[in-house]
Structure formats: structure tokens, C-alpha cells
Amino acid sequence: MTDYKIPPVVEKAVVTRIYAQADDAQWPHLQDTDRTRLYREWTEDPDIGGRLLDFVGQRANIRPWLKDCPMKEYERARRGEGKYAKYVSRPAATLEQMVAATLGPDWEVIPGTTQQKPMRAKIREIGTEDEEQHFVAGTAANLKHLAWPAILDRSTGETWPWTICVVDPFRAPVPPEKKGEHRRVAEFLGVRVVYFNEM
């Protein structure tokens, strides 16, 4: 799917447009039927499907490309990560901002330590060299993936502190009973769970 030769100018125009519409529609809170409807509208839109058509061969390929490429990256792009991040008009909080919001402004991401899937980095208190920690962030639905790096780390005998930051959106808050579950997991693993409240 990804080896279509889509010229950067077309990709930019198309992705900017669908990201703006996904933002307007509150993509993360849409029902499947509404997502289906948007995909169909995009496919039929001359400025989206119409421009892609020449490069993906046939109409039937438009939707899979939209779904597997830009929309699969949407969440990461909103947080300033990945090749599509530059097309986001209303970015969400980045890893740096989450660190500052949950641990305080004295904490910073150590440059060059950021990794993806899940989004994580090493952090430290500004001005200190030895107070380093691991910081990993994501949604509650992805908790097991957030915990996995810590588990691997622990299994090799590493003892550095891990902070798991769970995004807690205002429109779909993490239910208190889920938070109880997180607390038990954190206790069991010996890590810390914090919540990043997002509007």
C-alpha cells in the first residue's frame, strides 16, 4: 500500500485536508459508521480521492491508502511524531508537554532518547544528571503496550524508575474503576502511573 509514488505536493494537500476534517469531526470520538461516512466522502472528494486516483491506480485503492497511511498515523501525527506531523493544523500535547503537565515544569526529555510505538523517552530533572527515568505515554486502551517496555526492562534486571502516563481525555475520561486496575498493575510492576488530562 505504501509504495505508491505520490508526489509530496499531492500528499501534502490531501493529508492536510483530511486531518483538518478529522479534527473538526473529533475523530477519536466518532462512531464507526461516521468514520465510514467520512472515508466515503473523502474518496469522492475531487480534492482528496480525485487527486490520489492518478497515483494509486484505481478508485478501490483510495480508501485503503487513506486508512493505512495518513489515518493510521493520525494519533502520532497530532503529537508531533512521524512523517505526517507537519500536516497537522491543531496539534495535541507532545511528549514534552505531557512530562511537564504530569511531573512539573522541572522535568525535561533527554534529547535523542525519544522512541515510538509506544511513544516514550528518557527524562530527567533539569540540571541533574542522575535522576533519569523512563516515561511512556498513550491511551488507556493501549495500557498493555505501555507496560510492555517496562516489563522487558525489569526482566533484564534494570531498576530505573518507569512512569506510565495515561492520556485521560475530557470527552472520554478513564473510568475510576479502570484507574483502580491501573493502580494494581502499577503496584505489581513497581512502576508509577500518572494521568494527563486532555481537553
Binding site: 466515503r40 503537565a101 475530557f170 470527552r171 472520554a172 473510568p175 475510576p176 474503576e177
Partner: protein, 783 residues
């Protein structure tokens, strides 16, 4: 004297019958009220207006409602949680008596925590109401929570130790809750920038699928009746008490109920609209009534019932939908009654209140909607907006006259309903009424082709014996063939295969060009453009086009074909149909039959099916064209609908001419007895004494007696009074007899079927359906 109620009272509030959705709505009303205040005050509100409801994920879970409102001070919070307290100016609020909060939280669970914070506050403050802990001193525990960002503001209500069955319901019914709230708050969510989320998913306003502002029908060929009537009626301003909410009668300085001096003059207005839905439904029709933007009544049908002020209770008569009632109704509306008091459950208005009665009078008038009934009871014609819509849209025949999409023969209610579901699902091409409108136009076009023959011979403008007799020589114009066409010269051309001339054309035109030429001038057939197939065979999407008159459909060898399939990308096919092909014109074949034969071949190959062609055709028809099923219930109902229209018109004619006594005299004794019995069975005992003294009996005579009446009094009912066939002006007895027989023949069929639909065989039902169509065309004034 301490009259604080016992703590048990608070707990008992939970026993008040509120549905789960009502409990949640009570907790959503409050933030919406706050948002409305913010909007009214004109304050900038950069964080948006969002309410988010979190549902319990297990029976041990919690329910949480949080908002981005202003938050409360400690004092305001204290008052807000006290049962019976309500903010000032309750007339502009969704909230009412200040009990909704206590009732709904007590009903949902045993412990409620409210946390609130304003921008600039240093922490969340709150109170915990634990019904198991609270004592008679009503001391609820103050609670606080740290606040990470001082700019945060809003309120959170957290209910836990939930009532088990209600927690179960909330856990399982997120989608249904969203749908209910989407309809209750549809107006607010559409008109204001408010967002409501339930279980992380946005609540979409459930909007009305109504015909556009510009659509209308012509009543009697001249009176324009719009399909959308805006309502905006300012009533005299009223004086209301700002403390207890009561409207004041008279103009004193103190409230006549609570004695407060806090009175204010308020505007009273009935506004909104009445209109016509694009589809019929058995339950989804009626009027929505709103108070301060929240829907109190949805699909309310009480306006369609006439309450006789002189009648006995319980004897109210429904007036709509009366005809074709088995498909339901389509008159709808959205009426705001902000000044009319509602019950504390917010699911009904105070129906005895004067302001409600005034609104009813304005919307539906005092007289019955049915003009006949109004006249009989001595009322002038009802000219209210609802009566106007009733007059224009009471019947549901396909076509422009009633704005009902059809397939050329009959309405396609199942399809229009299905499109309505697509409208609700947000499919873009169904958002405007264009899709429905095109189906109305296509119906008229197909029907016009089929009717050309009949109109030339039987319009009353030509009471010419020659024309009537000429009808004898005509080929039978069966409407089921869709476009049976008359005419001598076009007939002659079409029966001779014009291969020679066409072959020349072939040499200069490719297949693609030829098909494109057909397509460009063809008109789509709405009913046959759909998905065809069977679970065993798979499905194809077919777009069916009827060739324009004069065009001949030729296959790749230059031979004339009735139906030609053209495979398009993937699953899509275009079917071209030549309505003038002799298979249709001379042999009365149905378009669908031959189309199915073609499709069967395609699907057989594709699915490698070993079914034989007839099995394939039968299976695909049963699966894909369920609307065309011939069942006694549907056809019987159609017959009775038409009969009731004819009864109405016959009664009208008899009333005008005074011929009712003579007409009654023509009934046999047996028919008279049957009429009496029918009246008594219908509860119209009072009418029995008036038999033969007015036309009331016509509504109760056995259907076959109608045939007799037309036969013995033809001069009264022909010539454009009830039926448009000529009679008086036809000079020869045989011509008269023929003209009359065209009507009575069909009428007898319809009457028989209307009475004995249950036992009818398929051929009888088919004949009846044709007779219904033919007779409908014979009705005067039905152009």
C-alpha cells in the same frame, strides 16, 4: 419549629419513577443551563461547551457527568444540592423544581460526590452525599481535591454504589442512551455550540427528515399547500413570578401563589414549524414539543385526534392517519412552548393549563381536521396550519399530487423509509430531499407514458361517442407493463424489426458510443435501481434506465432487445430497458421479469450456481423485490383506502344533490341491515335513526352496495363528479353502458377484494391491484 425533612425523604426520592435516560438528562440539564447563561451574558468562552458522561464499565462502576461550565462557589454549591432549591429565573432554565438532581442521583446510586471549581480557584471543592451515612441533621461531608492547573473550571458529579439494575442498563445501553439524548437535545445541540459525549462518543442530534422549505402540492389543481409551515405567534406578554415560577392572572403587585413581589413581564411565544416527513412510518410521525430547547414530547400524536367538546369522554376520534394507516403517517413538527408548564418528570406538559389549550387551538384549530366531519357538526372549515397540511397530504398516493415517491405504479414506502435511515446515518446524498424528489418526478414520468393512451380517450372534455367506442378496439393497457403505449404510427414502426436501417448506424458507432447514446437520453427507473441478488449467489448493484421514446435498444448484433445489461466496474451494472419493445407493449411483460432473466444469467455464472434459470429468477425476485409481493393484507388495505376515498366523494355528491334518500332506497333489504349493523359495530348508534335522511350511511354500506349505487344512479356519479368518465353527453345507450362499465367493472373488483382480501388467490390479487390503479385514474380531479 424545625421542619427539615427526615433523611429518609432524600433516600425515598430515588423511588420516584425516572427512566435511566431521564436520570442522566437531569444531570445534563444543569450544565446546559449554565452554558446558556454564559451565552446570554456574552462572555468569551474559549474552552468550549462540553458535557461528558462516563458510563459504568461494570455493575460496581461509577457514573460521572463533567462539564466545562463556570463552576460554583461554596455557597452556590450548598444551595444547588439542597432538595427543592432552584436558581432564579426558572423560566429560562431546563431545570425546574430543584428536585431533579436529588431524584436522579438518589435513583442511580447510594453515594454522590459533587466537585466544582472556578477558573482561578486553587482546588476542587465539593460535597459527598452518602445516603447510607446521612443523618437527620443533613450534614453532608465537605470534600476537596487538588487542582493541577489553576485555569481549570467546571463541575463533576460522580455517582457510585450504583443501583444494580440501573448500572447494568447504563453499561449495556450506551448507544440507545445517546440516541435518546440526541433526540431530546436535538434542537439545543443543533442551535448552540454545545457538545455532549456519552461513553466517549459524541451524541449526534437526531434531526427531522422533512421535505424542504420550497416544496408544495397543489390541492384541486390550484391551491398551493406547502410541505413546511413556519409557526411564529407572539402571544400577549405575561407576568410571571421569579420565585415560584407561576404565571399571574390579573395584574397585582404580589404573586397570587407565593406572595413574592419578585414579578416580571415575560414574552410568550409559540414558534417552530409543522411539516411533512419524506417517508411514512408507523411510529415516527407527530409533533415534537419543546420547552427551553429540550424536547418534552417526541412524536406526539394527540393533535391528530379530535375531542368533541359535546361528546362523551373516551369517544375521541382519530383523524390522521386514517387512510393507508397500515403504512403510518408523515405529518411532523417541532414546536417551542417555553411558557407552558411541564410536569416534574419533564415528559409531559400540563395539558389542562390554559396556555397549552391556546397552543393547541392555534396549531390545529377547534374544528375536526376532516372537512366532511367539520361540516356535519356545523363547524366552518378548519384553517389552522395542521388542517392545511392534513388537507394537502392526507393521502399517500405516489406522485406530485401528494409528494410521495413511486415506481410508476405505486408508492415505494419501504424504499423511502430506507432512505430516511440513510439520512439519519448521515449519508451525504440523502441529506437534502433531492433523492425523494427525483423519485416523485420519475414516477410521474413513467406513469405519464403509461397513461397517454387512456387520457386521450377518457377525459371528460371529450364526451364523444366515437372515442368511447374506440376504446373497444384498443389493446389492453395494463399498467403493470409500465409504459403500454398507443398510437398507430409508432406502433407500426416498433413491430417491424428495423435491422436494416440500424445496421448502417452500427458500422459507424462503437458499442461504448452506442450505450453512451442510450444512456444520455434515458431516464432512471427508481424502483428497479437497487441491489439484486440472493445470499447463495451474491449481489450486484443495478442502475436501471428506460430508453427515451423513439429510441430502439439494439444488442451488439444489431438485433432489438427488451433489456440489455452493461457491466461496469466491479459489482455495478447498468440495465437498459426499451419500454417500446413488443415484449412489454404487446405482451404486457413486466420490466422486472425480463431484467431478472438477464441478471439470473450473470449471477449464475458468477456464483457457478447449478440452479436452473427459473429457480434463479424466483430466488432473486423473492430476495430483492419484496415490495412486489402480492399479499392479501397489503392489497386489501390498498383497496379499502381507495374505497374510503370513493365513499367520501359519493357522500359529498349525495349531500350536495340531496339524492341520499333515493340512494338509500336503491339498497336491498339485506344491504340495509348490513349497513345498520356496521354503524352499530362502529359505535355510531346515533346515526341509525337518520338512515336515508343524510349521506352518513354511505360510509357504512357494504362495499358491493357502492357498485350498485353507481350502476343505478350513473348520472349522479359520472361526468367528473366522482368518476371522470363521460355519461350524460354520450348519445347512444351502448356508449353510455361502456363508459359506465369501465368504472363499475373495476369498482366491483376493488369492493370484492376490500371485503374478502384474506382468501384471495394470487391472480385475484393481481387483478385487484390493476383494478385499483385503473380506478384511481378514473377518479375525477386526480390528474
Amino acid at each position: 419549629m424545625k421542619i427539615t425533612p427526615s433523611a429518609r425523604v432524600l433516600s425515598m426520592l430515588g423511588e420516584i419513577d425516572f427512566d435511566e435516560w431521564q436520570c442522566v438528562a437531569e444531570l445534563v440539564d444543569n450544565p446546559f443551563d449554565d452554558f446558556l447563561d454564559i451565552l446570554r451574558s456574552g462572555t468569551e468562552w474559549p474552552d468550549g461547551f462540553t458535557v461528558s458522561v462516563t458510563l459504568p464499565s461494570s455493575p460496581q462502576g461509577v457514573l460521572e457527568v463533567r462539564d466545562t461550565g463556570r463552576g460554583m462557589s461554596y455557597d452556590r454549591l450548598t444551595r444547588a444540592v439542597r432538595a427543592g432549591w432552584s436558581g432564579n429565573d426558572m423560566h429560562d432554565k431546563l431545570g425546574l423544581f430543584g428536585m431533579g438532581f436529588n431524584i436522579s442521583t438518589a435513583r442511580l446510586g447510594r453515594r454522590t460526590r459533587i466537585l466544582t471549581t472556578r477558573a482561578g480557584d486553587t482546588e476542587w471543592i465539593g460535597v459527598e452525599i452518602d445516603l447510607d451515612q446521612i443523618k437527620d441533621d443533613f450534614e453532608a461531608k465537605d470534600i476537596t481535591e487538588p487542582k493541577s492547573d489553576p485555569t481549570q473550571h467546571g463541575t463533576r458529579i460522580i455517582v457510585d454504589r450504583l443501583h444494580r439494575t440501573r448500572a447494568e442498563w447504563l453499561r449495556r445501553n450506551g448507544a440507545s442512551l445517546r440516541n435518546t439524548l440526541g433526540s431530546v437535545y436535538s434542537w439545543i445541540l443543533t442551535e448552540h455550540p454545545f457538545d455532549l459525549y456519552v461513553g466517549g462518543t459524541r451524541v449526534k442530534p437526531v434531526r427531522h427528515c422533512r421535505w424542504g422549505d420550497e416544496r408544495y402540492v397543489l390541492f384541486n389543481g390550484k391551491e398551493r399547500i406547502p410541505a413546511y409551515i413556519p409557526i411564529n405567534e407572539r402571544l400577549q406578554d405575561g407576568i410571571a413570578c421569579r420565585d415560584c415560577g407561576e404565571w399571574q392572572i390579573g395584574s397585582g403587585d404580589v404573586c397570587s401563589v407565593c406572595g413574592s413581589v419578585n414579578l416580571s413581564v415575560r414574552e410568550r411565544r409559540i414558534h417552530g414549524w409543522l411539516g411533512v416527513q419524506r417517508y411514512l412510518d408507523k411510529t415516527e410521525y407527530g409533533i415534537d414539543f419543546l420547552r427551553n430547547g429540550r424536547k418534552i414530547r417526541r412524536w406526539d400524536k394527540q393533535l391528530f385526534t379530535w375531542n368533541n367538546p359535546d361528546g362523551v369522554a373516551g369517544n375521541e376520534e382519530p383523524e390522521y392517519p386514517v387512510e393507508l394507516a397500515h403504512q403510518g403517517g408523515r405529518l411532523i413538527g417541532e414546536i417551542h412552548l417555553d411558557h407552558v408548564p411541564v410536569t416534574y418528570q419533564k415528559d409531559a406538559f400540563e395539558y389542562g393549563d390554559r396556555s397549552w389549550l391556546t397552543a393547541m387551538e392555534l396549531l390545529r384549530g377547534l374544528a375536526p381536521l376532516q372537512p366532511q366531519r367539520a361540516r356535519k357538526l356545523g363547524y366552518p372549515e378548519n384553517e389552522s396550519p395542521l388542517a392545511l397540511l392534513f388537507k394537502g397530504f392526507r393521502r399517500n398516493d405516489a406522485g406530485l399530487r401528494y409528494l410521495v415517491p413511486g415506481d410508476g405504479h405505486k408508492p415505494v414506502h419501504a424504499d423511502t423509509r430506507d432512505w430516511g435511515r440513510k439520512f439519519q446515518a448521515g449519508v451525504s446524498e440523502f441529506q437534502t430531499d433531492e433523492h425523494w424528489w427525483q423519485a416523485v418526478l420519475r414516477h410521474e414520468e413513467i406513469k405519464k407514458r403509461g397513461k397517454e393512451a387512456r387520457t386521450t380517450t377518457s377525459v371528460p372534455a371529450q364526451p364523444d361517442e366515437q372515442a368511447v367506442l374506440g376504446a373497444l378496439g384498443l389493446p389492453v393497457d395494463i399498467p403493470a407493463s409500465g409504459a403500454a403505449q398507443l398510437g398507430t404510427e409508432s406502433g407500426a414502426v416498433s413491430t417491424v424489426p428495423a435491422q436494416a436501417t440500424m445496421a448502417v448506424k452500427e458500422t459507424t458507432e462503437t458499442r461504448g458510443e452506442r450505450l453512451a447514446r442510450y444512456e444520455s437520453a434515458a431516464s432512471p427507473h427508481a424502483y428497479l435501481s437497487r441491489s439484486f441478488g440472493h445470499p447463495e449467489l451474491g449481489y450486484v448493484k443495478v442502475r436501471t434506465l428506460l430508453l427515451k421514446p423513439g429510441e430502439r435498444l439494439l444488442d451488439d448484433h444489431g438485433l432489438s432487445a427488451p433489456v440489455l445489461l452493461d457491466q461496469r466496474s466491479g459489482n455495478e451494472l447498468t440495465a437498459l430497458v426499451d419500454p417500446e419493445h413488443y415484449a412489454f407493449r404487446r405482451f404486457g411483460a413486466d420490466y422486472a421479469d425480463l431484467l431478472l432473466v438477464e441478471l439470473a444469467a450473470v449471477l449464475k455464472v458468477r456464483a457457478r450456481s447449478d440452479w436452473n434459470p427459473s429457480q434463479l429468477v424466483a430466488a432473486i425476485r423473492a430476495e430483492s423485490l419484496q415490495d412486489s409481493v402480492l399479499d392479501g393484507t397489503t392489497v386489501g388495505a390498498e383497496a379499502r383506502d381507495l374505497l374510503s376515498e370513493i365513499r367520501e366523494r359519493v357522500a359529498e355528491v349525495l349531500d350536495e344533490s340531496g339524492g341520499y334518500t333515493a340512494a338509500y332506497g336503491h339498497l336491498s333489504d339485506e344491504q340495509k341491515f348490513a349497513t345498520e349493523e356496521a354503524m352499530i359495530a362502529a359505535g355510531r348508534v346515533g346515526l341509525v335513526g337518520r338512515l336515508g335522511l343524510d349521506s352518513g350511511f354511505v360510509h357504512h354500506v357494504p362495499a358491493l352496495a357502492l357498485v350498485r349505487l353507481v350502476e343505478v344512479m350513473p348520472a349522479s356519479f359520472m361526468d367528473g363528479t366522482v368518476f371522470r368518465g363521460p355519461y350524460f353527453g354520450v348519445s347512444s345507450p351502448s356508449g353510455k353502458a361502456l363508459s359506465l362499465a369501465r368504472v363499475t367493472g373495476c369498482l366491483a373488483d376493488v369492493a370484492t377484494l376490500g371485503t374478502f382480501a384474506g382468501e384471495a388467490t394470487a391472480p385475484q390479487l393481481r387483478r385487484a391491484r390493476l383494478s385499483i390503479a385503473l380506478l384511481r385514474d378514473e377518479l375525477a380531479g386526480e390528474e
